[in-house]
């Protein structure tokens, strides 16, 4: 399905990598950059956006700025042979300009589960002429192992806080990457009342019965560390906050949906269930 969507973008009539010289790939999207590196294409990447933070070597490459605020000339100035971008990269007008300038664009659709992730990496590998099989086999094994190690029984209930700045905490409802990760780790997202990231009423938060709070590392750091984060008035009354049950994780690792996602889900499930789950195998892309 995803392969077909990629092919339908009209760019891939011929294998893109059938170049005389090694093609140069510009990348927009942290998870996408991880996929390319896992496929062994790191050496071809000529520029990345600011969300491509893993592997850290990528940060030494020319920067395209933030993935949602790409500049057509900026991308073209790297003389790439193609732009591989995440579904949220843009703005659309810039993508249109790039397309009009003759740059092949390869979009990776929104991924929210194991199947989607494997399909996306397969499609990318096939499109770019890199054999996806080893990566895909390893990832499928990781997801299968994750699936068997997650105990059945009532899942832990968690509340994902994107940030808790000045006002009401911004918590993730349905259809978010956080909700998708919770599903992957068999954790119950306590917010079902709304979609997307929205300010959550601190009073309503009290009634949701979350066992755990989950937040990205840098949001927690921005408030001065875990104890200061939990001491905020919007959160302090929550039983999870009082018990100090806050799980923080690097946001690209946790929400990036790339080859590391099975490991990220395993780590979170392990922490929130309070039982050390067996480790997943070490992979070169971790």
């Amino acid at each position: 399905m995803i392969t077909r969507r990629l092919l339908a973008s009209g760019l891939l009539a011929a294998p893109v990598l059938a170049h005389a010289t090694t093609p140069r790939i510009a990348v927009a999207g942290g998870g996408v950059a991880e996929m390319l590196c896992a496929l062994g294409l790191e050496g071809r990447i000529c520029g990345v956006d600011s969300t491509a933070l893993h592997p850290t070597r990528l940060r030494a490459l020319p920067q395209l700025g933030y993935q949602r605020a790409l500049s057509a000339e900026g991308v073209l100035s790297l003389r790439p042979d193609m732009l591989v971008h995440a579904h949220e990269a843009g703005p659309p007008s810039v993508l249109a300009q790039l397309r009009a300038a003759g740059l092949p664009l390869i979009g990776v659709p929104r991924v929210t589960d194991a199947e989607g992730l494997i399909a996306a990496i397969t499609a990318l590998g096939e499109t770019l002429g890199a054999d996806p099989d080893p990566v895909v086999a390893a990832m499928a094994a990781d997801f299968a192992a994750l699936d068997t190690m997650l105990p059945s029984g009532p899942p832990p209930r968690a509340l994902f806080l994107l940030s808790a700045g000045n006002g009401a905490p911004q918590a993730s409802g349905r259809g978010t990457a956080a909700a998708a990760m919770f599903r992957l780790a068999r954790i119950r997202n306590v917010i079902e009342g709304y979609e997307g990231y929205r300010p959550l009423s601190p009073e309503a938060a009290l009634t949701l019965g979350a066992d755990w709070l989950v937040a990205p590392q840098h949001s927690v750091e921005a408030r001065g560390g875990p104890s200061a984060f939990l001491a905020q008035p919007q959160l302090a009354l929550l039983p999870a906050a009082r018990a100090g049950r806050l799980y923080t994780q690097d946001s690209l690792y946790l929400l990036g949906f790339g080859p590391r996602s099975a490991h990220a889900a395993r780590d979170m499930a392990s922490a929130l269930r309070g039982v050390p789950l067996p480790p997943l195998p070490e992979r070169p892309w971790l």
Binding site: S50, T51, Y66, R68, A69, L162, S163, G165, N166, G167, A168, Q170, G173, I191, G193, Y194, Y197, R198, P199, L200, S201, P202, E203, A204, A205, L206, T207, L208, P216, H218, S219, E221, A222, R223, G224, G225, A228, A231, Q232, P233, Q234, A236, L237, S251
Partner: protein, 333 residues
Amino acid sequence: MTLWRLPLLAALTLMILALLLGVGAVPIPPWRVVGAVFGAGLGADGAIIWGLRLPRTLLAALAGAALGLSGAVMQGLFRNPLADPGLLGVSAGGAFGAVTMIVLLLPHVPAPLRPHAVAMAAFAGALLVTALVLLLALRERQVGVAGLLLAGIVLNAFAGAGTSAMIYAADDMQLRDVTFWTMGSAAGATWPVLGATLLAGLPLLLAAPLLARGLDALILGEREAASLGIRVEWLKWGAVGLVALAVGGAVAATGLIGFVGMVAPHLVRLAGGAGHRWVLPASALMGALLLAAADGLARTAVAPAELPIGLVTALLGAPVFLFLLLRSERATR
């Protein structure tokens, strides 16, 4: 004189504040609210009322009072019903400070200070920009009202551009924080925050009776006011300084909340004339009532999610205000 209406308005405001304590995402019936407030039910009700609802209701009321009173003072000072504290760059400066902190500076602030960093930056930005406006408006040791207005426009634009630059540099998550900050919220209320906001607003609240006579005289013109024994320069410096302090405090605690500062004095004048001895205290009460009510709506309308309070004030306030204005105009015709 309409001063006899003042206790009436005060009673009404207190009553609405009390009623609002029963309103929130978690329904608590009135008798249990009373129990929780007076310590009988220090269980879950007490935690919600004392930990969340009471401080935020009081913070909304206090910020509303500061904004309403400041609006009335500014309208008197500029002799223009469209004036509001934003003219002096308080809000734009506060926004610039807060956004700069969120996007650029937060990682460099020592961890223990970070929870208060955005509010402190907003306060500093508000005072700094207002001070610059005053300095720019200074001619031969006098502050002209026209100069104040022009300097305000220039610095508002400049602070706005600075804010835009920060927004441009922000990533997704910072952008969300920035967006919601600029729409205001009372959800961050705590007793210490309330105390700090009161400290910033108290000088203006206390000085209001002193300002009233001067502003009444100023209606006739600066020279005429001076001949009546008003120290006009002192009045201007005092009014601007105290307004910057009070609104800076409110902005720091709640983020940007438009509309209340401009509208509260209008409603008050519609209800009881234009004498400042009535308008100033009544605008403070009206501002408190409006903003506390708006916060009540913000925290219940889309529960379990929550609306930004500035969104509520503008969305509901604007049409009601327009209706009242049109009606009063028809009546005077």
